[in-house]
Assembly symmetry: C2
Homo-oligomer: 454 residues x 2
């Protein structure tokens, strides 16, 4: 399923130059809002704004909701509160709240006051109260509910009324007189039961729900685990307050995974390939500076062992090898923990984990040391002056020690951060490689000093 984007953009640019309004309309007619959003992303900003103002708010609302964050922000800045309110009227509450949340406070209130449908406005204001990374921040207010005390006939009539506001009916929720969630009703059951039967007698009380304060990660976990397309959201009393659909969660899952990946790669901000140079610098420079400062620490550590240079200068050829190994092992260990925490698969006692990590490190260390000794004997011995058995053994022992240290730091730093409520993904990437470089080099030369004596 593709559409000929390049061709459409060419055509559109020509019509815009010619101010051919009906041509523009005709070109975009029938296109999916997501496709139009993609097209606007590639046009000049003024042309994109022109098209948004040209089309009906029925379609532009969906286009704006689909726009790239940067372009969306720029467009909203240029639209008046009244114009934005018109778009908001067309959107479902969760999308509407997401857009309004991005506005400056004063404009927020102005936009809300311009929304004609007061029920819609009230729902949006409620949603704005919740943190965006909680169930409340993800949910929408569009859902179908029936009272357990109604009969089938009344339920069908009420459902028809409610269905006007709801784009897609996923589940029919059953509540009591206090709006407490009791269960769900299958459409099949509703259609095959006599019209006078009370809902109480036919609904299914086996329903999985999430709390409005649950973090988004928990919602994602529940929906993935139970293969849910939709999950109801309740407050502390059990009152049905909203519903989250799987498509909202897909975006969240994707963003979270991308964020972890970016942190591991030393990017402090979400960065896309078409971002401006300033944005990319903002994401990249901070980590590079932190790593550079770490680099100075390693310079100072090394200079402390400078007196080894006369007799055992060859040791200094090995510092990048030791540092790289420490960094690699640390990143591996931390990545396993970070993913375990993200997927909720981390279980078992701390002691068991410690013993396992030590076992793995020792095996890794021994294998790498063996390789080092073999290569040392048959290759390096001929190339490097002063690389004798004693020095080879020094490097080999250091390698085991450094791997052990690196994997323990890599495992326990993210666990510690997680416990302190800090995103453990911070610990992957440059942070762990830099600190492991420093410790690794220190351990290496300390062991060398003990064995070789300088």
């Amino acid at each position: 399923m593709t559409f000929d984007k390049e061709h459409i953009i060419e055509e559109l640019k020509q019509y815009i130059r010619q101010k051919n309004i009906s041509g523009i309309r005709k070109t975009l007619d029938g296109l999916h809002p997501a496709d139009i959003a993609e097209i606007l992303d590639e046009l000049d900003f003024d042309d994109a704004l022109f098209i948004i103002r040209l089309l009906d708010s029925e379609i532009t609302a969906d286009i704006i909701a689909e726009l790239d964050d940067d372009l969306q922000e720029k467009i909203l800045k240029r639209l008046s509160a009244k114009e934005i309110a018109e778009e908001i009227e067309e959107l479902e509450t969760d999308e509407a709240a997401d857009i309004i949340a991005e506005l400056p406070d004063r404009k927020k209130e102005e936009v809300i006051s311009h929304i004609d449908d007061k029920e819609h406005a009230k729902d949006i204001v409620e949603l704005l109260r919740y943190d965006e990374d909680t169930a409340g921040g993800l949910m929408g207010k569009e859902f179908i509910k029936v009272n357990e005390n109604w009969n089938v006939l009344r339920s069908v009539a009420e459902m028809r009324k409610q269905a006007e506001d709801v784009e897609r009916v996923h589940t029919i929720y059953v509540v009591d007189d206090d709006d407490i969630l009791k269960g769900r009703l299958s459409l099949k059951k509703l259609l095959t039961t006599s019209t006078k039967t009370p809902i109480k007698e036919v609904y299914n009380d086996n329903i999985i729900s999430v709390k409005v304060t649950d973090p988004a990660e928990e919602v994602a976990r529940v929906m993935q685990k139970y293969n849910l397309f939709v999950v109801p959201v309740v407050d502390e009393l059990g009152t049905l307050v909203g519903q989250i659909t799987l498509d909202d969660i897909v975006d969240f899952i994707k963003e979270e995974a991308d964020k972890d990946y970016q942190m591991a790669a030393g990017l402090s901000d979400e960065v896309e390939h078409d971002d401006s140079i300033m944005q990319v610098l903002k994401a990249r420079l901070p980590w590079l500076i932190v790593a550079l400062l770490g680099g100075f620490a390693s310079v100072i550590v090394l200079s402390g062992f400078g007196n080894a240079m006369n007799k055992y200068g060859t040791l200094f050829f090995f510092t990048p090898l030791i540092a790289a190994t420490a960094g690699n092992v640390g990143v591996q260990s931390s990545a396993i923990v970070v993913q375990g925490l993200a997927n909720g698969t981390l279980s078992g006692s701390l002691w068991k984990r410690l013993i396992k990590e030590i076992t793995i490190s020792l095996i890794n260390g021994l294998v790498l040391s063996m390789i080092l000794l073999l290569i040392g004997k048959f290759l390096l011995g001929h190339i490097l002056t002063g690389f004798d058995l004693k020095m080879a053994i020094t490097v080999a022992i250091s390698l085991v020690a450094v791997i052990l240290m690196a994997s323990l730091i890599g495992t326990f730093v993210p666990l510690f951060l997680h416990k302190k409520g800090i995103d453990p993904a911070v610990a992957t990437g440059p942070f762990i490689t830099t600190s492991n470089d420093i410790f690794g080099i220190y351990i290496f030369f300390t062991i060398a000093k003990l064995i070789l004596g300088f």
Copy 2:
């Protein structure tokens, strides 16, 4: 939404010891298959197998489908072809095919021959033909379709028949006499149209579909972009052959993101925190060995500049700093490209990208050099013997050159791999850090040789 897992497991273990079958049944009664799968994961294997054999295939089928891959494989190995066939009968075609695909070839055929529902068996055999990472490998054969030549009355009757095999009706597809997908039908329309109206006159021909050979990435992209809960799958002729639901895609998206993350962290295999030590070693050791061999290359490069040690030994204190910067910059650049490729947001010409990357590198390089010169003047100059202005400038210039080199390698190696059909994520992590270490150190000492002369 939680269930008291620890308590249930305790209870279960006790009942298993006592061989209290009705106790076991009662404990598990009403639990969601996904919860039972989680519980079995924590029991001894023989106990898990015992419970699988104890419960009805109606529920164990779903439990087996939800099991952790390792445990699923072990359990299937112990069940007979006939037992597996009984489970398969209860599953939807896509889940059934996923399970059968994991069996050895001979057992595959045996299981299929034991499936009583021949229509079900035929569908599964068809699905087994497709590569698992394509639309065909993801789709299921359970969907509802009506012929455009039927009227509303006949359609409703036929739908009722088809609905028996379908767990959840997402969309009603409309096909012609040759089973070519023509569009979709809204339930609302169906219920509000006179029973004699031909479907031809009321269906919506605006439908997004994917091809059976489309890669899973493309399916994920389409479903995310257009916010689809379900997408129909057609063959080369346009025949409707299956349907993919969003929950299948969520698993795929998660796995892909995890895979990229693991590659960036130097884990060659999917690895979970509760995997055996052998599995973890298999994922970690290969990359560590590759990096160690790279480390030897840097030893050899450094030894080539060994004659600098007498006069400019201080240079060797800076090798970890240079190597780390090269590694960090390379990982940043490659991560941006890898994510751009994964999200399909990489656009624009190669030249523009080259110029942008060079601009960013130069700014990064200049900022880091400034910091280096400042720290060099006010701090390092007092600590390090021989660290004069000339050497500081040497390190600063090298830093700019190394950052430029690292970001170009980081950007273009993944692009090159992608073009050659290799997963560009391979280029992130240890691979890029190791090669950038070597090149970075070489550049550093070459520049130092030119400026300082040794």
